[in-house]
């Protein structure tokens, strides 16, 4: 099953709800559903906010396939290339002691990296292609 959405935060919301339904059909555990929703929310928000920003016709494609041991997801978008043409490096932000200097952003990629396995990025045919797997329990 493949899902195509426009670059818009409300389309992202609706797509996440459809993915939850799809995962119910695939009989995934609540924990797996939660992990996919967190990863996909971050990936789709990044595409909407960064890759597709200023591109009104930007489309985002999601493909999901379940094997016995894992769930494989591919996200393809028409947006701009990832900075330096590759996945952002992992940052381990030290949590500062004083609340005033706490970060209000930049959590997205760290959540994706924490939860996704076999994360790959490629630029092909003017599109970003992101793939990852989720190990099922």
């Amino acid at each position: 099953m493949r899902l195509t959405l426009a670059s818009d935060p409300f389309e992202v919301r609706a797509a996440l709800q459809l993915l939850r339904t799809e995962m119910t059909v695939l009989n995934l555990s609540d924990d797996a559903v939660a992990r996919v929703e967190i990863i996909m929310a971050e990936i789709l928000n990044n595409v909407v906010e960064h890759a597709c920003r200023n591109r009104p016709d930007c489309r985002i494609d999601i493909e999901m396939a379940r094997t016995r041991a894992d769930l494989r997801i591919k996200v393809v978008d028409d947006g701009g290339t990832m900075p330096h043409g590759k996945l952002p490096a992992r940052k381990t932000a030290a949590l500062s002691a004083s609340p005033e200097t706490l970060p209000e952003g930049g959590f997205g990629w760290s959540l994706i990296r924490d939860l996704a396995h076999d994360l790959t990025y490629a630029r092909r045919n003017g599109q970003n292609q992101l793939t990852f797997a989720l190990v099922l329990d």
Binding site: P9, R13, D30, R35, E37, E104, G108, S110, L111
Partner: protein, 114 residues
């Protein structure tokens, strides 16, 4: 963004009435939090019992709401769903906020302390 505020002697209890704090609602959430917590007691308790999902934009907005309180006041959280709890744990924001099992516990703790 639908939030309600209730005043207790030593705390303001703010309840989120929607099921998501996400990229689509983060700015509205932050703005409404500013309005509801502008004055009032030192403690502000945010009841997330109705919230199924918080993404990184929503998390950023909660952190921003906390900073808006300034150094003299603090934001505490109550009733995190398993998914929301996971987001806080993975980003280690669970160590930044005092987290209560429920709003009534958060208010009750306060009653004992006061």
């Amino acid at each position: 963004m639908q939030l309600t505020a209730e005043q207790f002697p030593d705390a303001t209890l703010i309840t989120v009435l929607e099921s998501r704090i996400d990229a689509a609602s983060a700015i509205a959430f932050k703005d409404t939090m500013r309005d509801l917590s502008e004055d009032g007691p030192e403690r502000v308790i945010l009841d997330l019992a109705n919230v199924d999902f918080v993404d990184s934009s929503g998390l950023g907005a909660i952190v921003a709401a906390m900073k808006l309180l300034g150094p003299e006041r603090r934001l505490e959280l109550a009733a995190l769903s398993p998914t929301v709890e996971k987001v806080f744990r993975l980003t280690r924001m669970d160590s930044v906020f005092t987290i209560h099992a429920s709003a009534s516990e958060a208010v009750g703790v306060q009653k004992l302390a006061s």
